[in-house]
């Protein structure tokens, strides 16, 4: 193919007017000895998307991130990040990605600014751009005032924010966030998400993140649910929830029995009384509500639509809740961690 090299890539983009995906993965696997951490996954992430990997600990999320970041060699399959193959163009991939790991990778004995300058020099950020860019990313995460404090004096949330700023310093095309809020309190988690959302609006960047928090997956444009090293579902949070089945609609009416009869006659919906309200299920509740008002002659006093949560989604695809999966996955994770340590 002509578009193999990076030059070809750019030419191809200009020619057909759309950009190549930020991440392309095909048949990717990784074994640690006998343990199959990742068992053949395929997905694409278009430029500018926030893409989440949702799954319990030990499902293969971190291993996938490591392969995409060129930190681990795939056992088989291929992965392209920012148009470069991870196995053959390691440096090109690394130049184009920013990384925020699950565990902190800061030097506690240096100041925030020194940590960033170190990063800038390693990534070859042009000397003239270092200070202004550093100011920009530090202001974005609200740490500009604390830049000359030693990192040891930072709180957990500040450290994570500093890592995000550092990951962005060299203006990567793809930012990888491995469990960006793990171990943080709810308030700090919320603030980290504020920064990430602001970042999406300010920088032209694709974000790939892993999480095992359902509520965090909601922030993503698309989610892949991964379990036992395989992707079991991949779609927008909305579509995933819709795929689980139906929203639950509850209405209070002037005449409940008439309403139930009319729902059956007009919409072909089987409704019943639950919790003192007329209750029924439809595919997309929000879109159904206007039709309901137009089609039902019985006066409606109130409507509530409740959607399936991602917990329901995870449950329906894996047959278990993420919490239960985590409990049983812990042993497997330990094995994997041991195998990993043995290597390095």
């Amino acid at each position: 193919m002509a578009g193999q090299g990076s030059g070809g890539q750019v030419a191809q983009q200009a020619a057909d007017g759309h950009r190549a995906p930020a991440i392309e993965v095909a048949g990717l696997t990784k074994n640690y000895g006998d343990i199959e951490a990742v068992r053949g996954i395929d997905f694409e992430v278009p430029v500018g998307e926030t893409f989440g990997f949702l799954g319990p600990n030990g499902a293969g999320k971190s291993t996938t991130i490591k392969m995409l970041c060129t930190l681990a060699r795939p056992t088989s399959g291929s992965a392209r990040v920012a148009g470069h193959e991870v196995t053959t163009a390691r440096d090109a991939v690394r130049r184009n990605i920013g990384l925020v790991f699950q565990d902190t990778t800061l030097d506690n004995y240096l100041t925030g600014a020194q940590n960033l300058r170190f990063h800038a020099a390693l990534y070859g950020v042009p000397a003239a751009a270092v200070e202004p860019r550093m100011r920009q990313v530090l202001e974005m995460v609200g740490l500009w005032e604390r830049r000359d404090s030693v990192v040891m004096s930072y709180s957990g949330g500040m450290k994570r924010r500093l890592e995000i700023a550092r990951g962005l310093l060299h203006a990567p095309h793809v930012l990888f966030l491995d469990e960006p809020t793990v171990g943080l309190d709810p308030q700090t988690r919320a603030s980290i998400w504020e920064y990430i959302n602001e970042l999406k609006s300010r920088e032209d960047i694709t974000i790939f993140l892993t999480t095992h928090y359902m509520d965090e997956a909601e922030h993503c444009d698309r989610i892949a649910i991964i379990d036992h090293g395989k992707i079991v579902a991949i779609d927008t949070p909305e579509a995933l929830k819709a795929s689980v089945g139906k929203d639950r609609v509850q209405i209070q009416t002037a005449d409940d029995q008439a309403a139930i009869a009319e729902l059956g006659r007009v919409f072909g919906i089987e409704a019943g009384m639950h919790e003192g309200a007329v209750t029924f299920s439809v595919a997309s509740g929000e879109q159904f509500v206007p039709r309901l008002f137009a089609g039902l002659s019985v006066p409606i006093r109130s409507v509530s639509v409740s959607r399936p949560t991602l917990d329901d989604v995870f449950m329906s695809y894996t047959g278990t809740t993420i919490r239960d999966a985590e409990a049983s996955g812990t042993d497997q994770m330990r094995q994997m961690a041991a195998a990993f340590r043995g290597r390095r």
Binding site: L71, R94, N96, L99, F101, L106, Q114, L122, Q136, L169
Partner: protein, 301 residues
């Protein structure tokens, strides 16, 4: 269609500028980017050394004990075999310098294990630079710090009856730098394989004292029993302590007989090893060990 594309790009750029985004492009991997990496890794070691005053002070205690306490204490006993006007402390002084460098260099290398434990090693290993530049930066950083520690002891030369001769001082600094480099390279090579801090410390502790005692830092290298004589020739430290002592004594106007007794040449089966060869061996070992460290770190997972 191409025009539309161009316009879109121009608009996007404009928007980005309005939002105040600073455009940064990361350059291709080159010798220049690698050199910059070496330099920043080296500078980080210096910044950390500067921050850690306590470590600077505590790591001077042991050499000072050897020089002032052991040196003074053994003087009455050892003085009999010293030529008139030469202090026993002068004799062990080069060994004490080597010891200072030895402890600091190994400790600096331990920072790799430390960095691994605290995750910072990963920040370095995922950067788009060759891993060689990180290892070289570490080795040079450790060498610089260890030499700086040595220079503090060097400032106390007067206490050991060693003259502050500029040529002598420069020679000793150069020899310490070489020793420091080789020892850091050794430490980094070990740290590349040993991932646990406890294990690393235990192993280096086990090696440091034999390296020191077998180097002839505390006794002359002639008239030793065969087993000890062989062991001293295997110890790389010997090949720096010898030249350092030679430098010290050649600035003290000794007669050849005294010189031969106090600072004999290192011999291989009776053949005196020239000083330059001796130092060359140490340099070659340092480079070889650094090479092994680079190879170990360059292996992908």
């Amino acid at each position: 269609m191409a025009t539309t594309q161009t316009t879109q790009v121009a608009q996007a750029t404009e928007q980005a500028e309005l939002a105040g985004t600073i455009r940064v492009s990361v350059p291709e991997h080159s010798l220049r980017t690698d050199l910059r990496a070496v330099s920043i890794v080296w500078r980080r070691e210096l910044i950390r050394f500067q921050r850690d005053r306590l470590r600077t002070i505590t790591s001077l205690i042991q050499p000072l004990l050897f020089l002032l306490v052991l040196g003074t204490g053994l003087s009455s006993l050892a003085q009999a075999s010293m030529p008139p006007g030469i202090d026993f402390k002068t004799f062990i002084y080069p060994g004490v310098l080597a010891m200072t460098v030895l402890f600091t260099a190994i400790f600096s290398a331990a920072s790799i294990v430390w960095d691994r434990e605290f995750g910072f090693l990963r920040e370095m290993l995922v950067a788009p630079v060759s891993r060689a530049s990180i290892v070289i930066g570490k080795c040079l950083g450790g060498a610089t710090i260890a030499t700086m520690q040595g220079i503090i002891i060097l400032a106390l030369a007067g206490l050991a009856g060693v003259p502050y001769n500029p040529v002598l001082m420069l020679t000793l600094v150069g020899e310490m730098l070489l020793l420091a480099f080789t020892l850091t390279a050794f430490g980094v090579m070990m740290a590349a394989r040993i991932t646990q801090f406890q294990a690393f410390m235990a192993l280096t502790q086990m090696l440091v004292m034999p390296l020191f005692f077998l180097s002839g830092a505390l006794y002359p290298l002639h008239g030793l029993p065969a087993w000890l004589s062989v062991l001293t020739r295997i110890d790389p430290l010997t090949y720096v302590v010898g030249p350092m002592r030679h430098a010290v004594f050649s600035h003290l106007n000794l007669d050849p007989a005294a010189m031969g007794a106090l600072s004999p040449s290192i011999t291989w089966l009776g053949w005196p090893v020239p000083i330059m060869l001796s130092l060359g061996i140490v340099a070659a070992m340092g480079l070889a060990m650094m090479g092994v460290a680079i190879a170990t770190f360059s292996k992908p997972e």
